[in-house]
Structure formats: C-alpha cells, structure tokens
C-alpha cells in the first residue's frame, strides 16, 4: 500500500521534498547549537570565564535559534501545502470515478461519502507527518551518530545499538496492530452508517416504541468499538513504550558510563556534555515516527477503501454521438440481463415506435425497473442489444444519449436549492416561461404558487420538506421542462391520487412526437397506451393494445379482473 500512496504523493512532489530538505537543514542547525551550548557551559563551569568574554558565542547561538525558527515555519507550510494538493486531487478523481461507474444498485452512498471525506482526510497525517519523518529518521540520527562517534566511540556504540532496535520492534509489533486497525476502520464505517440509519429511522423506531431501546444499542456498538480499538492500541502503544525504553535507557547509560570515566579523569567534560546534549536529539525523529506510526496505519486502512473505489472497473462506454433526430424509435433485440448469476430479464424483443406511448406492466419483481435501467444505459445487457433509431445503444456515448431523454425514477430525488433550481436541473439556459408551462402540465403549478417564495421556495436536502406526491409532480415537471423527445417514467405517478394522475395523463398527450415508455403499477395508464408490454418473471409474455389484450385470455386480462375486484 505504501508504494501506491507514494505514487499519489507525486502530485505534490516539490512541496514534499522541500519540506524534507528543510527538516534536514534544521537537524544540522541543532548539532551546531549543541556544540555552542556545550562550549559555553564548559567555559563557564570549568574554565571560569566571565560572561562578558563569551558575547560572541552567545550571539551566534541566538542567530542559530532564529534560523531554526524560520526552517520550522517553512517545513510546516510546505508539508501542509503538499497534503492539500494530494487531497484535492484524490477527491476529484474519486468523485469522477464514482460518476463514471454510474448509479450502482444498492450502493451505500453514505459509505462512499465517508470515504470521500473522512477517508481522504485520514491520509493527511501520512503525507504531512509520517512520510517526511521516514526520511528524517534515517538522515538525522545518522548525522548525529557520526558526530558522536567522532567524540566518543563508547557512547556511539550505545546509540548505534539502541537506535535501530526501535524501528525493528515497531515493525515487529506494528504488523499485528495494523491488522487490528483494519477492523477498526471497518467498524468506523459501520458506525457512520449505523447512526445515519438510526436517525433516518427514528420516527419508525418511535412508532414501534423502540426508540429508547436504541440507546442501549448505541452504547453497545460504542462499547464494541472501544474494545476493538483498545485491543489495537494496547499493542500500538507498546511501540511508544519500546521507544521510551531505548531512548531513556540509552541516555541513562551514556550518562552513567561517562560518569565512571569522568570521575577517574579519563575523559573531558566538554565532549561528554556535548554527547549528552545530542543524545535526546538522536531520538527525536524516531520519537516522531512512533507518534505518527498509527497515523500511517489508519491512513493505510483508509487508502485500501479509496483505492478499491478508484480501481473498481468502469463499464465500457460508447463513443459515437447519438445522431440528432426529430423523433426516436427504440427497439430491444433478444435483450437479457443477469445479476449475480440470477437472470432478471430474458430474451426481450420489442419495438417502441417513434411518437408512441408504451406502458409496461407486471407484478413487482417482474423486471420492469431493470428494463428501464437498461434502456437508460445505467446497466449493460448480458446479451442482446438496444437500438435507438437503428444505432446500437452500447456504441453511443451515454452523455449524448442522456441529452436526448427525460426520466422520472420510482422515487425521484429533489436537491437542496430552490424549486426553480430543481426544475431547471441540467438545463443549459433558464427559460422561466418554459418552467412554468412544464409545472402546469405536471399539475405542480398551483402547489408551487402556494409555497412561501413560490418558484424561489427552498427545498431541503432530499426534498424532506416536500410530500411524496408533490415530489413526483415536481419531478414530472422537471422531465417536461427538458422538452425531450424520449420520456421514460418509472411508476412516476404512484404517489398521486387518481384524479391528479388522470389530469397529468391528459397533459402528457399534449407532447406530440414524444416516444414515451411508462412503467405502470395502475392499469388506468395502460388503457390509453398505443402498446402494452406485459412482463412476467423477466420474460415478455404479452404485447398489444388494451383492446386486443383485454379480449383474449391471458395475464393482462387476469390483471384487469383483479383490479375490478379490488375496487368493489
């Protein structure tokens, strides 16, 4: 996973290397200031020099301190800039990819949103802290070690032994911690969706008097989360304990070993004190690495999610433009679709003549919605093909295909914004008269006028402040406003009362030259259609007009009979 992340880091290579370079310079300044400090202390305590004679080294020390402040500032800024470049690029790429895949069946959109936001954010510590520290924790200790060896080989040996043991131990315990961390990230995702789910269903919970029970469930899930996370942390924290162990003990050992030699006059104070000043600095980068090590682990866990979305296959897209036409005729030729090995549609052959209205009926689960998603180009047929004015849909660029049509799904979605924004969704130019006309045709005009602000009325996210029936009328108006020559409606009038539905059907017939494909749950729609297709368990079992199908025994007539029975 690291090489892949490093490749992402290339987006901001300059800033990353700049930050590392400044960090290295800063390490040299630290060595310089330690030398000056050790010299000053020796001069004061052992050479008994008065302060007045030490002004030059004191001034020099102050200068080094100033330089170090500048280097710190620069390194931090560069690292933060690098992260922002990487995150912005990744988010755009992810969103692009998700849209290229199209609306997935049963997609957990909250999960994807979590990956886009929190997942990408979790990479920040990797690039801002862990990655620069990786370089610094090799370069800085090596520089200090070489310098210490030049002063005293015994202390050099102590540091040489203690230093590499730290990364070694971290790798040793790190792997197990990483496995646990993976689980923790998945739990975090589940927790996010669990909460959204609970909040969305809070009304349902209250209706069943179970809202209070959820308190215990939230407590239990949080508690599970604590337990698994602490399992991981108990081990991850061992790395910091190991680091403390070697760092503190090495310093103690250096001090004690020097003490033994100094007391017998076998060694000078200046180099001994300089080594003691440098010893903590030797461990500083390693200390940083330990602190940011589990930042790396959660970044890696997040990266897995990110890359699995980025690497998911994108369905093949056609590249040919849809030949512009006044009218569109569609046809299915031996169309089949299977999902997860289950056949949903089989061998559908049908024609949707230009300017005609086709109503597709069938029990729920018969494959009506799947057929509409195939026609829309959201799904790719397993076999057979779909023709638009003789052109194979698989070869047509989806964007040019979608420009030609209007679609109202089963549960249409309104977006946060004004009513007008929603009606004009995706329209290149805003033509208010056209929107008003479309609203009137969809029987949405009067209710829009009754809203505070009329066409400027605010719609909340997901259309939460608009009822189901109103949403469908707005969605129909949105479809009409596109003035498309192809209209696909998937149970678009399901939430409307019969009167409104009939009025809307009247208005639909005003759109001459429009090829309409309507998935219907009510047979009232079928009576007016030029053609009725009856689907049963994924097969096309009957096709014809209302009059012809009602006259012969078969599934359609059975449906008519049950309807009559229902309305007694």
């Amino acid at each position: 996973m690291d090489p892949r992340l490093m490749r992402e880091g290339k987006r901001a290579r300059g800033a990353l290397y700049g930050s590392i370079g400044l960090g290295l310079l800063s390490a040299w300044v630290v060595i310089g200031q330690s030398v000056l400090l050790a010299k000053l202390v020796t001069a004061i305590s052992f050479l008994h020099q008065p302060l007045s004679r030490l002004e030059t080294p004191l001034l020099l020390l102050a200068l080094l301190f100033g330089l170090r402040a500048l280097l710190t500032y620069g390194a931090e800024r560069l690292a933060s800039r690098a992260c922002l470049t990487i995150k912005t690029g990744l988010r755009a790429a992810l969103l692009e990819r998700l849209f290229a895949r199209g609306p997935a069946e049963g997609a957990a959109s909250a999960e994807h949103a979590t990956v886009l936001l929190d997942g990408v954010e979790a990479l920040e510590p990797y690039f801002a802290r862990y990655l620069p520290q990786m370089y610094l924790c090799v370069a800085v200790p090596l520089a200090i070690l070489a310098f210490v060896f030049s002063l005293d080989w015994i202390s050099g040996l102590v540091l040489l032994v203690a230093g590499p043991l730290i990364p070694l131990f971290m790798v040793f315990v790190g792997y197990r911690a990483e496995a646990i961390n993976q689980r923790q990230w998945l739990k975090l995702l589940a927790l996010g969706t669990h909460f959204l789910d609970v909040l969305q269903g809070l009304t349902t919970l209250k209706l069943f008097g179970r809202a209070r029970d959820e308190i215990a469930i939230i407590a239990r899930i949080s508690d599970d989360y604590r337990r698994t996370t602490m399992d991981g942390l108990r081990i991850a924290f061992l790395t910091s304990a190991v680091l403390e162990f070697f760092a503190s003990l090495a310093i103690a050992l250096v001090a004690v070993l020097f003490g033994a030699r100094l007391i017998h006059g076998h060694f000078d104070f200046y180099p001994a004190f300089l080594v003691l000043l440098l010893a903590p600095e030797y461990f500083v980068p390693l200390r940083g690495l330990s602190v940011h090590y589990h930042a790396r682990m959660s970044a890696i866990a997040a990266a897995r999610q990110i890359f699995s979305l980025l690497d998911a296959p994108v369905p093949a897209r056609g590249s040919a433009a849809l030949a512009p036409a006044e009218e569109y005729e569609m046809a299915c030729e031996k169309l089949s679709f299977a999902y997860d090995g289950r056949i949903v549609l089989q061998d559908i052959t049908a024609r949707f003549p230009a300017g005609s209205t086709t109503v597709i009926v069938g029990a729920s689960g018969a494959g009506k919605t799947t057929l509409s998603r195939l026609l829309l180009g959201f799904l790719t047929p397993s076999a057979g093909r779909i023709l638009v004015n003789g052109q194979d849909l698989a070869e047509i660029d989806p964007e040019s295909w979608w420009r030609a049509l209007a679609w109202v799904p089963q549960s249409p979605r309104l977006f946060k914004g004004s009513v007008e924004d929603n009606l004009a969704l995706g329209l290149p130019a805003r033509d208010f008269a056209g929107l008003r006309n479309a609203a009137a045709r969809a029987h949405a005009y009067n209710f829009i006028q009754s809203l505070p602000g009329q066409f400027g009325a605010a719609i909340d996210e997901g259309g939460a402040n608009i009822s189901g029936g109103e949403t469908q009328r707005l969605a129909l108006a949105r479809a009409y406003a596109r003035q498309a020559k192809l209209l696909i409606l998937d149970e678009a009038t399901a939430s409307l009362d019969a009167g409104t539905e009939a009025a809307i059907l009247d208005s639909m017939e005003q759109g001459a030259g429009v090829t309409a494909i309507i998935i219907a749950h009510r047979l009232t729609l079928a009576e007016r259609a030029d053609q009725i297709l009856v689907l049963q368990e994924g097969r096309l079992v009957q096709a014809g007009t209302h009059a012809s199908l009602a006259a012969i025994p078969g599934p359609y007539r059975d449906m008519l009979r049950t309807r009559e029975a229902a309305y007694v």
């Binding site: 100094l262 007391i263 679609w407």
Partner: protein, 558 residues
C-alpha cells in the same frame, strides 16, 4: 466558555479515569525532567571530582545518583505506557457517554424537531461533531492541566538554585505553551470554525450527489454538481491552508521561545555561579532541566487549535439538543385504559404558528369500528397521524382515547396502544429478521414466518440464500419497492394493538398484490379499531364509515 464547562460537567461521571490519566501524564513528564537534569549534574559533578584529585574521587558517592538516573529512566517507560492506555480508555468511555447522551436528548424531539434538517447534516453532527467533542479530554484537558502542574513543580525546583532562572523558565514556558498558542488560536479560530462548517456542507453535498446520481447524469447536471463539490472542497482546502499557516507560525514562535529560555537560564545560571551561589555542576543541570521542561508545553499549540473546533462543535450539538420537545411530557404516569374509543372534537393543529392544518376537526372512532379517511395529497392526513401519535401538540379542541385526554400520553405511551403501517416506514440496514423483531422483540420464528405469510412475502424470503438473515441494504436497497412495503406490513402483524392506523398501506403495490393484501388484512381488522388513511379507493369497502379530509375537517362520505 460555558459550552466547555457544560462539556466538562457531562464528563464528570468518568472523573476517576480522567484524573488517573492526568496524574500519569504528569508523572511521565517529571520522570524525563529528572532524568536529564540529574544526568547533567552527574556528568559535571563527576568531572569536577575527577579533576579535584584522588581524595575527592573517593569521597564522591557514585552509587546513589547513578541508581537514580536508572530509576528515572525506568519510571518514564512505565508511566508513559500506562498514561497512554488510561487516557485512551477514558476517551472511548467518554465517547460512548456522549453519543448516548446526545441520542437520549434527540429522541424526544423526533420527528418534529428534525423535519427540515438535512439528514446528512445530522450524520455530520453526531458522528463528526461528537468525535470532535470527544477530543476535548485527550487533546485539551490532559495536556493543559498536565503542563500547568508540571511547570509549577519544575519551576519550584529551579527556584532552589536561582530565582531568576525559575522566573525565566516560567516565562519561557508561558510564552511557548500559552502566549504563542493563544495567538495561534486567535488566528486559527476563524479557519477552524470554517473547516467544521465546510466539512459538514461537503458531506451533505457528497451524499446528495451520490444518492441522486442517476437523475444528475440523465439531466446532464452531474458536471455542475461535481464542480460544486470541487468548489466547496477548494474552500475547505483554503481554510485548511490558512490553519496550516497559523500552525506553522505558532510552531516556530514556540520553538523560538523555548530556545530563548535556554539562553536566559544559561546566562542567569552563569551569573549566580560567578557570584558563588551555585556549584559548577548546577549550571549544566539547570540547562538540561530547562531543555527537558519544554516537553510539557509541546502539545499546547495543538490543544488550543482543537479548542476552536471543539467550541464550534459544542455549540451546534448543544443547540440541537436543547430544542424544546414538541409536546410537554405528561405530569403523571400513563393512565390505564379500559376502552379505546377515540373522540376528537373541534381539534385545531398548526405547526409553529403557521396555518391550521387541522381546523375544527371532529371524528368519532368507537372501539372496534373501522373508519376510512380519504383526502388528496397535502390535505392533512399526515398531520392527523402526528396528532394521534403525539408527535405534535394540538392547540384547540378535545381529543380523548378511552375517555382520557390525549395530553395525558407521551408519544411512547401512545405507541403502545397503536400499531401503524406508515407510508414512510424505514427499513434499517440490517437483516430482515431484525427489521421484523423491531416490531416485537419477543416474536419467535413461527410468528415471524406467519407475519411474512400475511404480508405475502414468505415465498420471497424462503427463496433467499440467507432467508430471514438476508441484509436489506441501505434504506432497503436490495428489495423492490413493493417488497420493502411488505416488510412494513409484516411488522404491523407482529405488533397487536387495539388501535390500527393504516397510512396509505398499499401505496406502491401493484393492483394484484394490493388486492391479495387487502384480502389477507381483513381478518386482522376484526376486533381492532381501524383508521384507514388513503387516497386510493381500494379497501374502503372494508370500512364501516368513510370521511373525506377537506379544509382541515372530516366530511362524512358514507
């Protein structure tokens, strides 16, 4: 600041864990201070003894200080590990407390207070704001109080040797740990608040874009939506860059303050040494002690940065949690009911002082009677349900169940007397079994299957590889619209209650299934009071009386 006090009060039940973490963190700091200061003294003292000749070497007690050096090193390791474990354990316990506290506050407010809230916003609030609040202990409380305690103890130690050096240390720690971070926090407060706000806006934008992807693609609005998300992300990045710049400034100022302190301690130590007030070994001791002291203030810039974000999150969370419940809870325990006759007379109900949705609404539903209510969309059918289930308070008229005023019931108590098949029944992202058990936790396998049979769903569930344990997906995404509705129907079968409210129960079902369902429903109606709210004519034949809801009143149809 009052939000922060309130947060601290909320965490009070965990004070044992919290204080233990605080003590261990302070001990860890002091161990390092002791190790370095003692090592500095030890080196200089042994060097001085070495130079002073044979007698001084023999008189020097080598054992005690060298044992102390090793003791401090060992103490540091142990207390560091314990500190990490204890503070994180406390953090997670606090997180669970906070989530439960928030949900408990939110639950009585729903659904009234949540109508009009963006649901993705709510997710943002609970998950990310509460996570942010939860950082308070680990990232603010512990570092600030630990630094304070350790700074005072270390400066007191310095004061034994040189009062000016002690003052310089306090001043330096103050500059490094308080002044520079406060300056940073001042500058970082704006971007910090912007980041929290933009994060939640961006999350809502992503959820909206992903859930409405199909329509966005077909209408050609996808590029515009992506551009909007990208622009919001740019704004977020800009705010993060500003915060990054402020943090960099703070870090370099803090470093400068620490180094200036070293210089001051060295100069004051040297002066005192020149004046004969200090031994040769105490100058390096003070210098190394001062170096170690700044470990205490290192996390403080981060702490104050977090404080900005925590305050914003706290304000939003508390604002949401402090809303008034739509109905005041009844003063007395739920009255026991002998009968379940429902009597509504002249009831007015308006939302937040708006127009009356129910306006002099009267209806009588004697126990066991079946009444149908029809009405066009927007005529107030949902409001009638809000009234009966005690989700919203009514302003005028009388409403009685079994002769008891409806105001004597909370919504939870009403839920016990009524079963509802709602057009908005939510399917939880879990198994079919759990979705059914929601209605009746005591139901056994046979009862679940019976409910599925009634709802015409048993064959479908039997055909699933996992059967009852099949996961329904987000919002029931792996089921068709009709199947999802039938799960809701099965739930109602599992919860027998004297009052059955059918809220557009066959909405979205095809005619054939609707008819079959209504036929199966008929025997279930026997003996229960039924209120059947619909705009579809099917099933009204099962009702004894039918009213139309028009202009906020019930008008008898038959």
């Amino acid at each position: 600041m009052s939000d922060i006090w309130r947060l601290i009060r909320l965490t009070a039940p965990r004070k044992g864990w919290m204080l233990a973490g605080l003590g261990l963190a302070t001990l860890t700091l002091l161990a390092n201070f002791g190790l370095l200061a003692l090592s500095g003294w030890f080196l200089a003292a042994t060097a001085a003894a070495g130079l002073a000749g044979y007698a001084a070497q023999n008189a020097f007690n080598f054992f005690t200080p060298s044992a102390m050096v090793r003791f401090f090193a060992t103490l540091r390791v142990g207390s560091r590990y314990a500190e990490r474990l204890v503070t994180h354990e406390a953090t997670f316990r606090l997180l669970a407390d906070l989530r439960v506290w928030f949900y408990t506050r939110l639950e009585p407010l729903a659904p009234a207070a949540l109508q009009g809230q963006r649901s993705a916003d709510l997710l943002g609030r609970i998950v990310s704001d509460i996570d942010t609040l939860n950082l308070f202990y680990l990232r603010v409380f512990v570092p600030v109080l630990t630094a304070l305690a350790a700074a005072l103890l270390m400066a007191s130690f310095f004061a034994f040797f040189s009062v000016p050096a002690a003052l310089a240390l306090i001043l330096g720690l103050g500059l490094n740990g308080a002044l520079a971070p406060v300056l940073t926090a001042r500058l970082g407060a704006g971007p910090g608040a912007a980041i929290t706000r933009l994060n939640s806006g961006l999350r809502a934008e992503y959820v909206e874009a992903l859930q409405g992807m199909g329509e966005l693609l077909v209408s050609g609005a996808a590029p515009a939506m992506q551009a909007r998300a990208a622009a919001l992300n740019e704004e977020l990045a800009a705010a993060q860059a500003r915060l990054g710049g402020v943090a960099a400034l703070g870090a370099s100022l803090s470093g400068l303050a620490a180094n200036a302190t070293l210089l001051a301690v060295l100069v004051f130590g040297a002066r005192r040494f020149e004046a004969g007030g200090l031994g040769a070994a105490q100058v390096p001791m003070l210098l190394l002690g001062a170096m170690a002291a700044f470990e205490a203030t290192a996390p403080l810039p981060g702490a104050l940065n977090y404080l900005g974000q925590i305050k914003t999150a706290a304000r939003r969370i508390f604002a949401l949690a402090d809303q008034m419940p739509p109905i005041s809870p009844p003063a007395t325990a739920a009255p026991a009911l002998q009968r379940y006759d429902l009597e509504l007379a002249g009831v007015d109900l308006a939302y937040d002082g708006g127009r009356k949705v129910l306006d002099g609404f009267s209806l009588s539903l004697p126990q066991g009677r079946h009444v149908g209510i029809v009405g066009v969309s927007g005529s107030g059918k949902s409001t009638l349900i809000n009234l009966l289930l005690r989700f919203h308070e009514y302003q005028a008229g009388t409403a009685r169940l079994g002769g008891v005023d409806l105001r004597a019931f909370s919504s939870a108590q009403m839920a016990r007397h009524a079963t509802i098949i709602s057009q908005r029944s939510h399917l939880f992202h879990t198994s079919i079994r759990d979705n059914l058990l929601l209605a009746n936790g005591a139901a056994d396998e046979a009862a679940l299957w019976h409910a599925l049979e009634v709802a015409q769903l048993a064959d479908f569930v039997r055909g699933l590889a996992q059967g009852l344990d099949h996961l329904v997906g987000e919002g029931g995404a792996s089921l068709s619209g009709g199947q999802a509705r039938r799960i809701a129907l099965a739930r109602a079968v599992l919860k027998p209650a004297p009052l059955l409210i059918l809220d557009e129960p066959t909405e979205g079902l095809d005619v054939e299934t609707e008819r079959a369902f209504l036929a199966d429903l008929a025997p279930l109606l026997a003996g229960r009071s039924v209120l059947y709210i619909t705009h579809r004519p099917a099933g009204l034949a099962l009702m004894d009386e039918v009213y139309e809801l028009r202009d906020g009143k019930a008008v008898r149809q038959r």
